[in-house]
């Protein structure tokens, strides 16, 4: 364990234990604050700004965001080591965009690796490749969001074009131990068979990628928008039903990739 890593500081907004849907086994998720994208459907709107914010939750003000050292976070992560070992689980860095705090992420990942803890990150890969490259050997599983193959539509719904993301995906996949493509299925944005199949074809073309997760849109973030005093741009859009998700799953599977609904 490196002293320098332990002292590295970062900004997080939550630590969630016993997560069983973001990477293999039982995992602890560390949510890093700050994101480059502004996805309309984002269910963690409090993750987007790097600033420490106040959000109303159940009528009470809650401070979102906390500056911590790797040592402090690691102390909490370590407590569930026995469950990671038993289940083949570990930690998952999520956000926000993990890579916005690349230095903190690197220090935390290395600390975990040195302790024998399996690592994963959830990311959109929307930063320059040179920032990602040093992290690759420290990460056991990449969970990469690919939201749309059409750059203009991607920009319209997330505020960013997708070229950098796709380019990075190609490069990272070549070097990553395990790489899983995750697609949030958002009605009005990417929930047609064609759009999903396009993403699946791309995923299938990536080096060593065998799995794709379809994550159906949900409205659980709604209260948080209210709590932050922000407008919920998804309006009354309802989550895709089970039948439709299965149709999309079949469409994606036609490319030869293995598809899991939910992840």
């Amino acid at each position: 364990m490196l002293e320098k890593d332990l002292m590295t500081r970062g900004r997080i907004f939550d630590i969630q234990k016993f997560s069983t849907h973001d990477g293999p086994g039982i995992r602890t998720i560390v949510f890093l604050k700050g994101c480059l994208l502004r996805c309309r459907w984002c269910c963690n709107p409090e993750s987007q700004s790097y600033d420490i914010q106040t959000m109303l939750q159940g009528g009470k003000e809650k401070t979102i965001g906390e500056d911590v050292t790797v040592a402090e976070v690691f102390e909490k992560i370590k407590k569930d080591k026995v469950y990671y070992t038993r289940s083949g689980g570990g930690i998952t860095l999520s956000g926000g965009e993990t890579l916005c705090q690349a230095e903190f992420a690197e220090a935390l990942l290395r600390t975990c690796k040195n302790y024998g803890i399996n690592t994963a990150i959830e990311t959109t890969l929307c930063v320059p490749f040179y920032m990602i490259e040093p992290l690759i050997p420290l990460i056991d599983t990449f969970l990469v969001d690919i939201k749309h193959m059409n750059s203009a539509k991607h920009e319209e719904f997330t505020t960013m074009k997708n070229e950098l993301i796709l380019q990075n995906a190609v490069e990272v996949a070549k070097r990553a131990k395990s790489f899983i493509v995750r697609v949030p299925v958002i009605p009005t944005f990417n929930d047609t068979e064609e759009e999903i199949k396009d993403i699946a074809s791309f995923a299938k073309s990536l080096h060593g990628v065998e799995q794709m997760h379809l994550l159906p849109y949900h409205r659980l973030g709604y209260d948080k928008y209210v709590g932050l005093g922000r407008e919920y741009k998804m309006g009354d859009i309802t989550p895709p039903d089970k039948e439709h998700m299965n149709t999309l799953k079949k469409a994606a599977e036609s490319t030869g990739i293995k598809v899991v609904i939910g992840g």
Binding site: K17, F18, T20, I29, D80
Partner: protein, 832 residues
Amino acid sequence: MKYTVETAEKTPRIDLLKKNLMAAKPQIEVERAVLLTESYMKTEGEPMVIRRAKAFQNILENIPIVIRDHELIVGSTAKNSRGCQIFPEFSCQWVEDEFETVATRSADPFEISDENKKILSGIFKYWKGRTTSELAESYMTSATRDAIAANIFTVGNYFFNGVGHVSVRYDKVLKIGYKGIIAEAEAELEKINVGDADYVTKSALLNAVIISASAAITYANRYANLALQMAEKETDATRKKELLNIALNCSRVPANGAETFWEACQSFWFVQMLLQTESNGHSISPGRFDQYMYPYYEAYKSSPEFDKSFAQELVDCVWIKLNDMNKIRDAVSAEGFAGYSMFQNLIVGGQTAEGLDATNDMSFMCIAACMHVMLPQPSFSIRVWNKTPHELLLKAAELTRTGSGLPAYYNDEVIIPALIGRGLTVEDAREYNIIGCVEPQKGGKTWGWHDAAFFNMCRVLELVFSQGEDKGKQISIRTKPVEEIKSFEEFMDVYKVHMNYMIGLLVNADNAIDVAHAERCPLPYLSGMIDGCIESGKTPEQGGAIYNFTGPQGFGVANVADSLYAIKKLVFDEKKITLAKLKETLNANYGKNEASDLVDKIRHELEAHGVKVGEKELAEIKRQLPESSTSEYSDIRDMILSVDKFGNDLEEVDALAREAAYTYTKPLQQYKNPRGGVFHAGLYPVSANVPLGAQTGATPDGRYAYTPMADGVSPSAGMDVSGPTASANSVAKLDHGIASNGTLFNMKFHPSALEGMSGLESFVSLVRGYFDQKGMHVQFNVVSRDTLRDAQLHPEKYQSLIVRVAGYSALFTTLSKSLQDDIINRTEQGGF
């Protein structure tokens, strides 16, 4: 390999049996009480153990017998499915007192006819002054009676009932039959000399064993004859053949050793139901069914007529029978043991005496039987150790996912060393099974007196604030006014003064009852199946068993831990509140009592409508008052709630929880019982955390008066907010080994947490992880809050909804409203 994972499908017969079983409304039947009393009247002046045997014989020779439709395994303690008998020799005053309310009470109602009321009233006159409970009470000191009256602890279970809580040598009866046991007793009689000091008592016991075992054979023969008669009249050829086979089985077992798998199942069942008929205990636990049944299954499996589906059907039929037997308790106890539960704990897996993995085909078939029958009995358990096959755990996890609350998981790696620490041999410890809820012991060798009391640790905490007074009466040592306590250490010392004093009284209460059972209700039928009794010439109650314990359980660990921590932090470390102010706040029930005008109003209203408002009803009204939100008291409560709580994997408060548990577990183990055994603690509440919580004032952890307390070693409801792993880590920090009478950790899961193969895998890992850290027991409720709420509103839609209450499963709709609320309020741990 000794097992295959694949099991046979359920047969249509099982659904038919279940349908008939559930259609029956529980009835009180009187034949046993009549026959018992008749015999007692004739045997006045004879040795008690002989009188007991003769009464047992009179019952078995004359009680009505019945073979129900579709049954393959026969033998019923009552004419009606789920009917119960009455056992006046233990206590009977309450039965008569509750004649008019028993059919309408909220927990476990039973119907009784006017004619039967009259019969029982007549019989009960004979029993006045002759019961175990009356003798027990006369043995207790007045201080003990005061403590019981103040609800510090309750010993109602064995005070009113037989002890039960035993596993016998099922294996022995299966192997040599009662003829073999009679031969053993006769051989012992040959050996002893008329001039021996213990000749008179020993010969009496041995003769009593012979009378009882012979009575069991007679009883089975009556079934053989009945089956024959029914076969003669039967027109359906298939059923006729079944009845003839049943007749053959009953003529062979339990008199002789079993020769077929069907006979083994039938023999087991006679043993089980006759134990109940003799003694009226609950928690008569089949124990390691997969181990002692396996030889008969294995022989069947290698025979040409082997039919896997039929073997499974027989096991399923045994499961149905386990649900056919019932028992009535007094109204108060019924709330503490709600759900008509018989706590017949049956366990699979684990290790052999030599330390090898014990999993076999029967282990998997037992899990399958639970899935087929989906009823609360047996209380199904699984032993887990480092070498437990993963496939067994996955199969068990599938059963967990059904939401039946079964199985409970037990950790060999904690329990075996704990039992060795209590004097068991390594081999015996490895062969442990569970009694009732969570109590480990070696079957066939132990009179464990598990479940000997509920000891309310929060009530003792109240005594620190009242200087040992309860409602103006000095019931404990007079300690200094709480305002004068100057440090947290001193506060702990005063708490321990009251704990130690009350534990002493608890021992007095248990030992008084123990002696009363030995004197008035020795159990000769049981004696033939517990090692040590024939050799020593004593019944288990008289100390005849190899291992003897008394295991009263403490509860409220989490409440006491959180209370002590809040006091340490807010009163002594941060000095935010004085003990005087805290006392005032607790007396005001955090401001809820400000609504006392409202209480009076509701009370008058109810009384105007003819509703009797007693202390219990008053507590319920107060419990349901709205939370206070404005006063200074509620600010204090908010402050208390913001202090760290047990159940979140936080070092300081968890360490205090360990200490809190020690205030009960450590002093207790220095005491001895009249049978030469030691006291050892359990930390589990059955479902008593609800009714006993209703007798407990506000506690310094922010808990309102009269609300449920934490259950077992689980964190307080709603206080563990950091997910299931944090909750489990906290609980694992307690010393489970010292609580060798069992600990109970309840987790509630939303079904989504166990979805798919990965859900099962994660679940198994969670159990493994908790056990790696030396947790002792864990059980799961897999239901959603919404499901339970809907079940409260529409009970008719959820007749078969099973929930894990605490150490056992029950039908949700049969539970009282307050217990239902408690189950709903336990933190729901979801998958994210």
